[in-house]
């Protein structure tokens, strides 16, 4: 048997039991990673992950897979850096090929305001142990000669870029499957086509969930449902600071040459990278109106295609192959919301918006530690839901859709 077949993911599906120690709602990356870390780090294996459709069918299988830690506030820089490091060893740890590839990310700026912002980013990143550099246009050309520095005939000249060499991508489905398989191997039940339709309460506590297959009792219930978080919080009688917005992406046909980095223009509002198949993968801003619809639109394509081909002229000759949409749990400060809720027995991991794929390993690690020890890890304490009440918001415009 060749190495590829030996390392193929083997998923063994469980059956719903009436009780678990921990129930996780949502089989996206964050739910699966929480289960994986509970099982592998804390020996907590009487755990169910309930997924209403199929694992990775939400944003964790729809994203553009950028992994980086060049954030704008120290709390987030440290957290995402932990995740970057965990991704670097995830392949070895799970013994599954997640196609993790270091690429480096360029964030080019075309205005003086952008230039100041990205210089500041490189300083604050370095002060927090992340090696983001500020590059001159000549240095950008060394990394990506394909970028036209004279964008739009000099209308939007590239003035510089912040650059994180450690930035990478990984195949999203494989990340989800590797974590699911690792959790299953330790006895976790991952249950697909299992939808939570209500929470079971005992007085002020949540003590279980009702699914389309019956009731489950569990002392700990974790909501990890991406853009659908408001529905779960409604079941608990909680209002939260999340609005659900669509985010679109597209890929082109195969570009026959290699394009190494992840390139993003902050001022022109898009980012692009090359997939392992050679397609050019691009994303941009969120839709302005909140929505749960997966509709993708032509307006999105035409608005960003124009800017992209000015920046990377070779893209003029490519065709758009596929376009799709995910629905994102946007928090008001663009920072995650993780940890306890005012309702005992109910934990959340949300506010992953357009930026949560990179956070899957560190997010699950921290949620698992909170569940296992009953103490909120220092790394995620700043991300608690009560920060809004306590005037401790962490405004950070460091992801798509936050400008």
């Amino acid at each position: 048997m060749n190495e590829f077949l030996e390392r193929k993911v083997r998923l063994t599906w469980g059956e719903q039991k009436p009780t678990y120690d921990v129930v996780i709602i949502g089989g996206g990356g964050h739910g699966l990673s929480t289960a994986y870390h509970l099982a592998t780090r804390h020996g907590i294996t009487n755990v169910a992950v309930l997924e209403r459709k199929y694992i990775g069918g939400g944003n964790s299988g729809r994203n553009t897979t950028v992994i980086r830690s060049n954030y704008g506030v120290p709390e987030s820089i440290r957290f995402y850096q932990r995740s970057v490091e965990l991704y670097q060893r995830l392949e070895e740890e799970t013994d599954r090929w997640i196609m993790h590839k270091q690429k480096g990310i360029l964030w080019t700026v075309h205005t003086e305001a952008g230039l100041r912002q990205e210089r500041a980013r490189s300083f604050i990143n370095q002060a927090n142990g992340v090696n983001t550099e500020f590059l001159t246009p000549e240095e950008i050309t060394e990394i990506a000669p394909e970028i036209d520095l004279n964008v739009g005939g000099g209308k939007y000249p590239v003035l510089g870029a912040s650059y994180q060499a450690a930035a990478s991508t990984a195949r999203h489905d494989r990340v989800n499957w590797a974590l699911a398989e690792g959790a299953m191997r330790h006895g976790v039940d991952v249950l697909q086509r299992t939808e939570v339709i209500d929470l079971i309460r005992d007085g002020d506590r949540v003590v279980g969930v009702r699914t389309n297959h019956g009731d489950i009792s569990a002392p700990v219930v974790v909501s990890a449902v991406g853009g659908h978080v408001t529905r779960i919080m409604d079941m608990a009688g909680l209002r939260i600071p999340i609005r659900t917005h669509p985010l679109q992406a597209f890929v082109t046909n195969h570009y026959e040459r290699k394009f190494d980095p992840i390139a993003s223009s902050l001022d022109l509002g898009f980012y692009v990278s090359q997939t392992a198949r050679g397609e050019m993968l691009a994303g941009a801003h969120i839709d302005q109106q909140p929505s749960y619809s997966y509709r993708s639109g032509h307006h999105f394509l035409s608005s960003i295609a124009h800017n992209i081909q000015m920046f990377l002229p070779f893209m003029r000759d490519l065709r758009i192959l596929r376009q799709w949409t995910g629905i994102c749990d946007m928090s008001p400060d663009y920072t995650p919301i993780m940890g306890r809720t005012p309702v005992d027995g109910l934990l959340i991991t949300t506010g992953w918006g357009t930026w949560g794929f990179k956070a899957i390993p560190a997010g699950g690690e921290a949620m698992a530690e909170l569940i296992a020890t009953g103490r909120t890890p220092e790394l995620i304490a700043p991300f608690s839901l009560d920060r809004f009440r306590n005037d401790r918001t962490l405004a950070d415009r460091s992801s798509s859709g936050t400008h």
Binding site: T230, R239, I240, P290, S293, R295, H298, H299, F388
Partner: protein, 78 residues
């Protein structure tokens, strides 16, 4: 297909001509004024289904209109 929104003044126009307006939806059940302010500043009802909302016709008549949009399908219901 792009979403089209009907403005009572200009007729049916593509969504991109409009700007989505904040829906202020603090529930009446929240009585305490400080709690109402907190809710208004951060929380959202974020409903999945038909919801009345205000849009500004920026690239049209520059007036506010109210429509009912189903956020599950993006269909304009009313």
């Amino acid at each position: 297909m792009s979403i089209r929104i009907t403005c009572e003044h200009c007729g049916t126009r593509p969504l991109e001509e409009y700007v989505y307006g904040e829906v202020l939806d603090v529930p009446a059940t929240i009585a305490d004024p400080a709690e109402r302010n907190l809710d208004r500043a951060f929380n959202h009802t974020n409903p999945e289904g038909p919801v009345p909302e205000a849009w500004f016709h920026l690239y049209g008549c520059r007036r506010w209109i109210t429509i009912v949009r189903d956020t599950a399908t993006d269909r304009i219901v009313d």
